[in-house]
Symmetry: C2
């Protein structure tokens, strides 16, 4: 009997002598699975160890050991002199579907914030990983520094000082899981510290609000015009902490005017204020050098946050903060307790990419590509959507397309999505989603020029349909 | 004048015609650096654009553009008809030290929880990354699924069901930054949901308490004996949520007895309770198959958390949770808001490692190595520290060495550290650090056998010194 494939002992369990696993292990796994999916019901008696052993050509002891293991795991109940039974504590589960992704997919993905992922320097990244890893001691993968690996903090400090005009100290730097975790840590600290209000730009990047509200903070919106955020409104707001995108306002593209930068720093000095500088895409300017970071003006007042998201890819989830010295320890402590520190291998690779100049090379290549795609988008809009106003700021990964007053923005987005075109509405990024002129944010960086033409033609159809 | 290397215009700024950067860019960067480090003081006047242009052999317009850029960045103040001046808003910074690590280094690192990092399968990991990445579309590095990439959730579900006896559904799984972030998310959700108390093992892994307290929860300790946690104490505690290490109690090594497993699930059913199962090292048993996960018994009551930390390396910061269906969405939402999702490339590599069986191969190799090192440790302790009691549980990465009653545990740890031996005290993991028998946790997995001998000899010296 022991050499036959099939069910055993009247159980809904099959064993196969040709399976490389020993029979008793197959039996154990089979019973476990049958109990779990309900084929063996709670309370059901199992065959005696003697009988089952005889049937399988195994010793009674081997069957007993399998039953004992399953009893140790809680699947079976064993009692002296009584048959083994399926435990009553077991709850069945149903069959498993294959994993799906929550990430949305569009034929034409023009959502803002996506860099060109096809242009991601895969080979260079893998080489950088191999090189950075080879140069790191084995212990690098052991206890992690919650602030990030020293190699990366050194490389980032040099890069940011050079490319962003910051005043970076690797000891006052915190590597985090993208911009978002950085802001989360700051907002939770503020809440615990007794701060209950934070100011953000309006319109401003939607997650600024989400993260702050998740941490229990009240969010105050500050108006934005062509010179960036309204600093007078900040002064009047009563808030002592503000999140800003000074180098390239999201989503309008405004650069904070010099006079306002000065006034902002003064505000921080006189109000004991903290400025969180979201420096998300500053190197991506196609006309001139990026305006330097605010942090360089006032390292004690500005918490500078950047990330590899738009410079390389969001999926790296690699961000960094330059933190005022008075604030570094609460944030490092929180990071150390909450997730111990960020993943190390990506840090080693990115450090190598920075110190070899490979990131600069990548950005130079991308700037040319994005500038061309931006022009293509503007031309397509001019051609297909003559009533739409666009910006004149050659920078970033998207353009804000202002729709004619009265256009039903959500309806346009839905009609575009039905045609396979992914966009974001301006309303998403407004504190009051119903206020202000309707508009859509159209990313151009991740889409080839012919696809940009087609996507804008489809968007024009969507606008026409909504009317 | 323009071809000479040296300071220009009486400024503490040097330009070099042989530098590949254009002169005006060198000038701009030089002034920025001088303002930042205080060599150019606030209010100081700069040379006229005409004079400086003549000196450098550049047009006046090029100098103006550099000044304008620096003014836009806030370093300079420009006023019509007056010389450019260094802005008053500037704050100097001091010279920068090189980056250091907060991670401690010991000549003999016997801290518990460290796997053999020298044995990390670097080549396999890099191959797995290349393979996993090659099979993934470019968009994988774009918008991330906060739950983790589908490939990994599928591979983990299959692995955990097979190796850990779980009942895993990839849709109800959440990839997180190590165990720690998983528990952080759960604790913050509990706090927001109105739960104010959580039970943990005492002694138990210290970060369980740290994370819960960081989230604002009150922590109740449950006694532990040779059958694992005291379930009766849980029933009496009034807590409805408990964090446990049922397969291999940390730090005692006890396996939760079958009767207690059943009673625990009953407790959860009757008290609407939630069991957080910390499944940190269960595959690392050297005598028999690991006891299956509690989660397989009651997927609706058990939140199962595992990580690659002890199975591969802590620096990967790669963890996973099998979440009851009623709890998955609050946790996914929190993860999506707080850091958007975990880093993608490590997930792709780990998915490949799992589905090719490379993780099983690695664990098989490590089990042999660790079993040998454990025996070596026990022998060394028997030889050098005859008064010390050790456990008899062949599993995990460390042994608990119980010191004679009355031994000054902190003094022993300090004396060992002075000799280069890193250990952890049992008191660290007790809720009341002063209660109970003194002991040290000695990890053996990351240390070669000769180094284990030497380290235990040094520990014996330390114990003798303390007396």
């Amino acid at each position: 009997m022991g050499d036959q494939r099939g069910p055993v002992g009247g159980l809904p369990v099959e064993v196969d002598p040709e399976d490389p696993r020993p029979l008793h292990e197959q039996l154990e796994q089979g019973i476990r699975a049958a109990v779990r999916d309900g084929r063996l019901a709670p309370g059901q008696a199992l065959p005696s160890t003697r009988g089952l052993g005889a049937e399988l050509g195994l010793s009674r002891g081997v069957i007993s050991a399998a039953y004992a293991q399953l009893a140790a795991e809680g699947y079976l109940l064993l009692r002296q002199g009584a048959p083994a039974r399926v435990s009553d504590a077991i709850r069945g589960t149903t069959a498993r579907p294959a994993a799906r992704s929550l990430a949305r997919a569009f034929a034409y993905d023009l959502r803002p914030g996506l860099p060109d992922l096809v242009g991601f320097p895969r080979q260079r990244w893998q080489r950088a990983l191999a090189r950075g890893w080879a140069g790191a001691p084995a212990a690098t993968l052991g206890e992690v520094d919650p602030r990030g690996v020293p190699q990366l903090r050194d490389a980032l400090a040099a890069y940011l000082d050079r490319a962003r005009g910051t005043s970076a100290d690797p000891e006052l730097m915190l590597v985090c899981t993208g911009f978002t975790q950085g802001l989360s840590l700051v907002c939770r600290w503020l809440r615990e510290y007794g701060v209950d209000r934070i100011a953000t730009e309006d319109p401003g990047w939607h997650p600024h609000r989400l993260v702050a509200e998740q941490a229990g903070l009240q969010v105050v919106g500050l108006p934005v015009d062509e010179d960036g955020v309204d600093v007078a409104a900040l002064e009047d707001s009563g808030a002592t902490v503000v999140v800003l995108t000074p180098a390239h306002q999201f989503p309008t593209g405004a650069v904070l005017a010099p006079e306002r930068r000065r006034r902002l720093v003064e505000w921080a000095e006189t109000h004991d204020g903290l400025i969180v500088e979201d420096d998300y895409d500053s190197e991506l300017r196609y006309d001139r050098t990026a305006v330097g970071a605010l942090q360089g003006l006032a390292p004690d007042r500005v918490l500078h946050v950047g990330s590899a998201g738009k410079r390389l890819a969001p999926g790296l989830r690699l961000g960094w903060m330059l933190v005022p010295s008075w604030l570094i320890w609460p944030l490092v402590t929180a990071k150390a307790i909450e997730d111990q520190g960020s993943e190390v291998l990506g840090q080693l690779a990115f450090a190598d990419l920075l110190s070899t100049g490979d990131l600069d090379r990548h950005l130079r290549r991308m700037r040319l590509r994005y500038a061309e795609r931006r022009v293509r988008l503007l031309r397509a809009v001019e051609h297909h959507l003559p009533g739409v106003r666009t910006g004149d700021d050659p920078a970033g990964l998207h353009e804000l397309l202002l729709l004619p007053d009265g256009t039903d923005e959500p309806a346009v987005l839905a009609a575009a999505a039905r045609r396979g075109v992914g966009l974001e509405g301006l309303a998403l990024h407004r504190h009051d989603g119903r206020a202000g002129r309707p508009g859509v944010l159209a990313g151009y960086a991740a889409t080839t020029p012919p696809a940009i033409d087609r996507a804008i033609a489809l968007l024009a159809e969507a606008v026409a349909e909504v009317g």
